[in-house]
């Protein structure tokens, strides 16, 4: 395990970016990982098909929360159509550490929440890879 990546994850866990709520959000979406009790909720403001602003709240393990924090940083300003293309590998690259199958669920919770929100907003059906 490269420790710089881990330091980065811990930093996002201890100092989450874009933490909070958006009063005028167009998308509000929340999901949890019942087995570990990880929870992630996202609020997104959309303008012209673009993520104008985004916030998240949640609780749980470092992997799940850091993943949400990093993801919010990366999708601000992205078009919803681009967000739809984000996949599991994107998250793994973003985190940059090796994950056991159990921890993979933690890492992917934020993506599940984000995509559920975006697909619902677009009135489309989400197909989850797994």
């Amino acid at each position: 395990m490269a420790s710089q990546e881990l330091e980065n994850i811990l930093d996002h866990y201890r100092n989450p970016r874009n933490y909070g709520e958006l009063a005028d959000a167009d998308i509000r979406v929340k999901d949890s990982n019942p087995l570990c009790g990880d929870v992630v909720e996202m609020h997104i403001k959309v303008r012209d098909g673009v993520v104008e602003d985004i916030r998240f709240k949640g609780k749980g393990c470092a992997i799940s929360q850091a993943s949400a924090s990093m993801l919010t940083e990366r999708v601000r300003g992205k078009r919803l159509e681009e967000v739809k293309d984000i996949d599991r590998q994107y998250i793994l690259n973003m985190l940059g550490i090796e994950l056991s199958p159990v921890r993979l669920k933690c890492a992917l919770l934020s993506l599940k929440v984000l995509k559920t929100g975006v697909y619902t907003y677009l009135g489309e059906k989400l197909k989850l890879e797994d």
């Binding site: 395990m1 811990l10 570990c36 749980g60 393990c61 470092a62 992997i63 159990v102 921890r103 933690c106």
Partner: protein, 414 residues
């Protein structure tokens, strides 16, 4: 040291367990997840291999020598287990897959058949899911009421209202030793009270039978369930110990071969107990392995096992309580605990902590709700970290755990 004393040292015992000396990576394995499953000594592995190499045949069927010998091996383990658990007779020993299957057997064959519509089953807030969900599954079929005896803040059963719970109960299903709190419940006393009210009693002994002397006769309950894989035996075999007259009066759990005496196309007559409850080809090799495990445990003695685990638990409680921001769950007194300690370390999520201990020190602990979600909800927690001990664990391993936890505090900047 005498031969006898030497064989009762965890250092000597470790040599019997291949997995404890097999290296995975650079550090030796510190295995502290024994409440989930124990490791297996060479004696058990060899007994199973020998069975399949020299004795394998289906049981209770063949008229040829090999089958007769296999049957004799299988049935000899039943007698061995009966003695080990202090049952009245070998007919009280039913082989199942595990504790879970034993409890389900009681749910379907006893509770569903014998409890009147609208009756009541009582369990406790500290049950493993396997002693909650089977009752929920059948409750709807007969409008059964389910009630849970609460726990106190210090991790004991709150028995202040026990008469109210038991007075109209049909069945008390209770865990002997909690796999999260570690609490050892007064099952003998509770069985007596339940019986005075006319309720049947099932004891989930998954965490007690492997770790301390347990007597079915002395507890006086009707049903007692445990798993072989938590007591040095292989996965795939467990036991239901049940009073013979109850087994006689109950309907079978599953239908098929072995459990019948006579079958016509329209109806069947059941075999005698306990075979009535063992439909299909049993896991004979696993039963043979369980027999070797019981012999191993008898040789070291359950009194020694209990004492050894008390020492380890005492050390763990002591060392962990000195770590800042560490909160231990469950009773303070070692005498009231089985050999495990669950805890919370600062705001570090148990999954992160277990992951860190594994990757950094090769220490295997359990993180999560340990199949006891209602208990965790009651404690206001989603997860805890648990270290659980067995005969091959040493004080040094507890020191390593404590050191690992101190390092974790620094690492997570907690």
């Amino acid at each position: 040291m005498s031969q006898e004393a030497a064989s009762k040292s965890p250092y000597r015992i470790r040599e019997d367990f291949p997995i404890l000396s097999a290296r995975r990576g650079s550090k030796p394995l510190v295995y502290l997840d024994n409440a989930a499953t124990s490791q297996k000594p060479r004696q058990v592995l060899q007994a199973m291999e020998k069975y399949y190499a020299e004795l394998n045949a289906n049981v209770h069927r063949g008229v040829y020598d090999l089958s007769i010998e296999a049957t004799e091996r299988y049935e000899s383990v039943r007698r061995l287990v009966a003695g080990f658990i202090d049952a009245h007779s070998w007919r009280e020993v039913v082989f199942t897959r595990n504790t879970t299957e034993a409890i389900n057997l009681v749910a379907y064959s006893y509770a569903l058949g014998k409890i009147k519509r609208g009756g009541k089953i009582v369990f406790t807030e500290m049950e493993h899911h396997s002693n909650i969900v089977p009752w929920q599954l059948i409750s709807g079929l007969k409008d059964l009421k389910l009630e849970a005896i609460p726990i106190t803040a210090d991790g004991y059963l709150d028995l202040s209202q026990i008469d109210r719970f038991l007075k109209d109960a049909d069945l008390l299903a209770i865990v002997h030793a909690s796999n999260v709190l570690g609490t050892i419940n007064p099952v003998k006393k509770l069985t007596k009270t339940a019986k005075e009210y006319g309720a049947a009693v099932l004891v989930d002994a998954a965490q007690s039978v492997p770790h301390m002397p347990v007597s079915f006769k002395e507890i006086g309950c009707d049903f007692l369930a445990f798993s072989g894989h938590k007591m040095l035996g292989p996965m795939g075999v467990g036991c239901l110990i049940a009073r013979e007259e109850l087994l006689e009066s109950m309907d079978p759990f599953m239908g098929g071969g072995e459990m019948i005496r006579e079958v016509t196309l329209s109806s069947s007559k059941w075999n005698e107990v306990p075979w009535k409850f063992e439909a299909g080809t049993p896991s004979v090799g696993d039963v043979v392995g369980l027999g070797a495990a019981v012999e191993y445990l008898k040789r070291i003695g359950l009194d020694w096992v209990r004492r050894h685990e008390e020492e380890l638990t005492e050390t763990a409680l002591q060392e962990l309580s000195e770590i800042p921001h560490l909160r231990i769950i469950g009773p303070e007194s070692v005498k009231d605990r089985c050999g495990l300690v669950s805890f919370i370390l600062a705001d570090i999520h148990p999954h992160d902590l277990a992951d860190y201990l594994d990757k950094t020190f090769n220490i295997a602990v359990r993180a999560g709700h340990h199949c006891a979600m209602p208990l965790h909800a009651k404690l206001g927690l989603t997860a805890t970290t648990r270290a659980s001990f067995y005969i091959y664990n040493t004080r040094e391993e507890i020191h390593m755990l404590a050191e690992g936890l101190r390092q974790a505090l620094k690492y997570f900047k907690a």
